[in-house]
């Protein structure tokens, strides 16, 4: 329990850092990004929202940096992220919440799948060290893990959409379908998400297979595995409970650390496929210089990553009794 609390504390610090970065970066950058943006807003927005944006970007600095900062923090805490330029006059918060389910469905599901599959394959591969399969897999996955996500996306579009016509080329759903919880829509959405999902899985899985395999091999040299063999336990049980459970622990840590990487790649995948998720919206906002939206999405992405890492930490605490005491 103490362990979880400590991690939560760490996440609060990280979140604070992300928010502060959001605040500081536009002020540190050369150029009048903020002024340009203000010019585009003027006349279209109610004074309250305008004021919030002023605070966020430091235009018309009546205030000192410090008081602007605290005002900014206050706005964030209340969920006032401002008005989106891209989707004017909708609020940023509302737009973000629209995009979120798409990303959770695509990126969330595929990341978990890639991790679970990768870990399982790595487990078996490490266990069957030296087999033909094990000889071929690692180099293959070393190479696939170095593929740029967006390139693989382009390639799969070219191959499966354009050349073979099996899957749709872009979008989250056909424009003609009505959005909602009906069967046509759901099948359509799934159809549209298959290529992006495959792209993410193929690229992300390599790293986790390799680390799990290496962990297994290292764990298999441990005395307690030899002890399990000495006790005459079934190989299955040794592989799972003795080797696997210990080998997965560093992999969970690695999951946390590589998640940022995967999320970055997922953003590009959404972009290439025009998939209406958080990543795609994020890049749209960049292109349109819709900074308010961009900042909010950045925070959203950070929060999601932190939550996923927290989940991995809880899993570690459950699986490893030693962490519970280290606290």
């Amino acid at each position: 329990m103490r362990f979880v609390l400590r991690r939560l504390g760490f996440f609060v610090v990280t979140l604070w850092a992300a928010v502060t970065l959001n605040f500081l970066i536009p002020r540190l950058m050369p150029g009048n990004a903020a002024i340009a943006m203000m010019a585009r807003y003027k006349g279209h927005v109610n004074p309250q929202a305008l004021h919030a944006i002023q605070i966020a970007f430091g235009v018309n600095n009546h205030q000192s940096l410090v008081s602007a900062y605290f005002a900014y923090l206050g706005n964030i805490a209340r969920g006032h992220f401002g008005i989106s330029l891209t989707f004017f006059p909708d609020t940023v918060a509302h737009q973000v919440l629209q995009a979120l389910p798409w990303t959770l469905a695509l990126v969330g599901v595929t990341t978990v799948m890639a991790f679970v599959l990768g870990t399982l394959i790595g487990l078996v591969s490490g266990w069957r060290r030296g087999s033909v399969v094990d000889g071929a897999l690692p180099p293959l996955f070393v190479i696939t893990s170095a593929f740029p996500y967006f390139w693989l996306a382009l390639l799969s579009i070219w191959l499966f959409s354009i050349k073979l016509g099996w899957f749709p080329e872009s979008g989250g759903y056909e424009v003609t379908t009505t959005v909602g919880w009906n069967w046509t829509f759901i099948t359509d959405a799934v159809n549209h998400s298959i290529l992006p999902a495959l792209t993410i899985i193929v690229t992300a899985i390599g790293g986790w297979i390799l680390t799990m395999r290496n962990n297994m091999i290292t764990v298999l040299t441990e005395d307690y595995v030899r002890m399990a063999r000495a006790k005459g336990l079934k190989p299955w049980r040794i592989m799972w409970t003795y080797a696997g459970r210990n080998a997965i622990l560093p992999n969970l840590v690695g999951f946390a650390m590589s998640l940022g990487f995967v999320v970055g790649g997922a953003i590009l995948v959404e972009f290439v496929f025009n998939y209406p998720g958080v990543g795609w919206m994020f890049l749209q906002s960049v292109e349109n210089q819709d900074y308010a939206l961009m900042q909010a999405l950045f925070l959203m992405i950070t929060v999601t990553v932190l939550l996923a890492i927290l989940a991995a930490d809880v899993a570690t605490a459950i699986l490893d009794p030693r962490t519970r005491e280290r606290g």
């Binding site: 180099p139 382009l154 210990n246 999320v263 970055g264």
Partner: protein
């Protein structure tokens, strides 16, 4: 008491335990070892070749590309042809030339960011690990925060405010954000190095902190630093391409990422110019793969466990026919175990090593046999071979001989049959309980799975039996549901012995179970083991380097030297009249707390290198009674007075033992 002279304590280095003859050894340094390791690793070689290929392209693009990449002189949107290997762009430029010229940016970014990120990672990671305290706390917090914040979105945010990010901006931003993973690795490596005495030795002799970090720590972490560099380079190539692809880079620069940007903007895929969109990505992927392969290869090089070595490739005979060729003399029913001509070999880095050479002995039903010897004599390998527990990390294979346990040859038994008798008929106690107990399971769970594997006891019966065996070794049963790390060292060791007694086996093999305990603890554990043995009647094979400890408890002793049996006989007899000069020397190497104080000599020199064992007596270089014949002839076991000894000194008194040895 007269003083020992220099001559007595001289350590001649000729017979050194090392790899290879002395003259070669002088040239070997840590750096050379690394190069050799790289050359032997296929992945590293492939990665290196690809990298070299791109470096050449980056250096002399003019010689290789047919055209100026910016020259918009060709027809637009052509497909691949002889003139244009990958077609032309929508603006009439030659794609192939653009690819070649684009290499330079990627290579430069990779190396620049790699260098910058690694530099910061080294500074932060090593300082945090070495200096500790609040410095470590602050640096680690910063590292962890940067590690966790999603970097790509952050970079996009930064690049969004600074449009058309030039090369320098890219390098700085990527470098300043990409060091956290490496810093973490370096920090934990530094932390584990801190326990190494040579760092403390440097401080004690008065070296400055800065010296210690730069000249003592860093040189030992070269492969980690290199791996960190490669990882950062990979990340730089991919992220830079990604940034340029979404339009945040300078659209006029010559790079693969920008090519992709323009290709995407012109819908190259659908418009019949697929290679314009695909090939730059292939290049990025290839270069990335090169870095990834090298990185992975370094992982393998720096952790020996990951390198697989097969014995078959080294020319050692491992066929089963050879094993069965030992003639079948029926086992004596008095003996619970008969080991005949057992040989074990493993594949080392430099060739096959015979770790156990033609060892034979018998074990009576309730007999306590001590197996003694010093490091690398093969005693542990021997007993693990008997227990059929070879494999990583010992990585040996039985190449010859029989192990007759209760009449059946364990060597030829299949795994499934072996599993039936494991733990029920014989069990094993290992040296370090901390390592031998699974850290994520309670003691109860580990006892339970042994019980469940071999019997149909109910949960309640298993719990009762577990508590019973704990009481047998004087552990309060309340500890049954503890995790191993919650028990003290002595308790853990006794818990292991308790576990070995679950089925009251007929044979327990113990590999130095007392060496982790202090003198008083060792004594009480030994007494307890002996008591249990006398009460429950099992046979014991007890491996140790501490001859004086085991001598109080063993019935017979087997002395091993350089993979062979040097002497085997009844304990008391061996102590009162040791026959082999090695045993004599060993006994005289124990100072005593009783009796007169006398000068002792020990045994100068070292055991022979088992990679190239001498053909004559292996103890000859260190033997005070050596004769010419000793070096020339291979030595056989001789039987003297009911004892076995491998020494020519006793030739006269002996009847040699060819019958027992079988195919000798």
């Amino acid at each position: 008491m007269s003083l020992p002279s220099v001559a007595d304590s001289v350590e001649p280095v000729g017979a050194t335990v090392g790899s290879g003859p002395p003259e070669e050894a002088t040239k070997r340094s840590a750096g050379a070892d690394l190069w050799r390791a790289i050359a032997r690793n296929r992945k590293a070689l492939v990665g290196l070749c690809i990298l070299l290929f791109f470096v050449v392209l980056a250096a002399i693009p003019g010689q290789i590309a047919p055209d100026d990449p910016r020259a918009k002189i060709y027809p637009r949107g052509l497909g691949p042809s002889v003139h244009h290997l990958f077609g032309t762009t929508a603006y009439g430029e030659d794609v192939f030339s653009q690819l070649v010229y684009g290499t330079r940016q990627s290579i430069l970014i990779a190396f620049a960011v790699g260098g910058l990120a690694t530099l910061i990672a080294v500074l932060v990671g090593v300082s945090a690990g070495y200096l500790g305290g609040t410095t470590d706390g602050v640096l680690s917090l910063i590292t962890d925060v940067i590690l966790v914040i999603p970097i790509f979105p952050l970079i996009i945010v930064i690049a969004a405010y600074e449009r058309n990010a030039g090369f320098l901006t890219l390098v700085v931003v990527l470098g300043v954000l990409g060091w956290s993973y490496g810093a973490r690795q370096l920090r934990s490596q530094t932390l584990s190095l801190r326990r190494r005495d040579f760092l403390e030795a440097a401080r004690v002799r008065g070296e400055r902190r800065s010296y210690v970090i730069v000249r003592e720590i860093l040189p030992t972490m070269t492969s980690l630093i290199l791996a960190s560099f490669l990882g950062a380079a990979l990340y730089a190539v991919l992220f830079a391409a990604g940034l340029q692809f979404i339009g945040l880079g300078n659209p006029n620069s010559q790079s693969w990422g920008t090519m992709l940007y323009w290709a995407e903007n012109n819908e190259a895929l659908g418009a019949g110019m697929p290679y314009w969109a695909i090939m730059p990505g292939v290049c990025v992927a290839l270069l990335g793969a090169a870095f990834a392969l090298l990185n992975y290869a370094f992982d393998e090089i720096s952790s020996p466990a990951l390198r697989l070595r097969k014995l078959e490739n080294t020319g050692v005979d491992t066929e089963r026919e050879a094993k069965a060729a030992v003639p079948a003399r029926p086992p004596d029913p008095k003996n619970i175990l008969e080991v005949r001509n057992l040989s074990v070999a493993y594949a080392s880095e430099h060739g096959p090593v015979v770790a156990v050479d033609d060892v034979s002995f018998d074990l009576g039903r309730s007999e306590f046999l001590g197996v003694v010897g010093e490091s690398a004599c093969g005693k542990s390998t021997l007993v693990y071979a008997v227990a059929r527990l070879l494999g990583a990390p010992l990585a040996g294979e039985i190449t010859r001989g029989q192990v007759l346990f209760k009449g059946r040859d364990m060597v030829t038994l299949a795994d499934r049959e072996l599993r039936h008798i494991r733990w029920r008929d014989y069990s094993v106690v290992m040296q370090s309980a901390m390592n031998a107990l699974n850290p994520v399971l309670t003691v109860a769970a580990q006892m339970r799975d042994a019980c469940e594997a071999h019997s149909t006891m109910t949960r309640r019966e298993i719990e009762a039996r577990s508590k019973e065996v704990l009481r047998l070794v004087s552990i309060d049963p309340v500890h049954l549901y503890s995790y191993p790390h919650q028990l003290s060292g002595g308790m853990r060791q006794r818990a292991m012995i308790a576990m070995a007694l679950l089925f009251t086996p007929e044979l327990i093999i113990m590999d130095e179970p007392t060496s982790a305990l202090d003198v008083v603890g060792q004594r009480s554990l030994m007494v307890q083991i002996k008591e249990l043995q006398e009460r429950l009647g099992f046979a014991v094979i007890f491996v140790t380097h501490d001859m004086s400890l085991v001598s109080h408890f063993s019935d017979r002793l087997l002395v091993m030297y350089a993979a062979q049996v040097a002497e085997l006989g009844r304990t008391r007899q061996l102590f009162d009249r040791p026959l082999h000069p090695y045993t004599q020397g060993l006994l005289e190497a124990f100072p005593s707390i009783h009796g007169a104080k006398e000068r002792l000599l020990g045994i100068p020199g070292s055991p022979p290198d088992l990679l190239h064992p001498p053909s004559g007596c292996r103890f000859a270089p260190r033997c005070p009674h050596v004769m010419d014949r000793c070096r020339a002839e291979p030595q056989r076991l001789l039987e003297v007075d009911g004892e076995l000894v491998r020494c020519l000194l006793h030739e006269q008194a002996a009847a040699s033992v060819p019958a027992k040895e079988g195919v000798a």
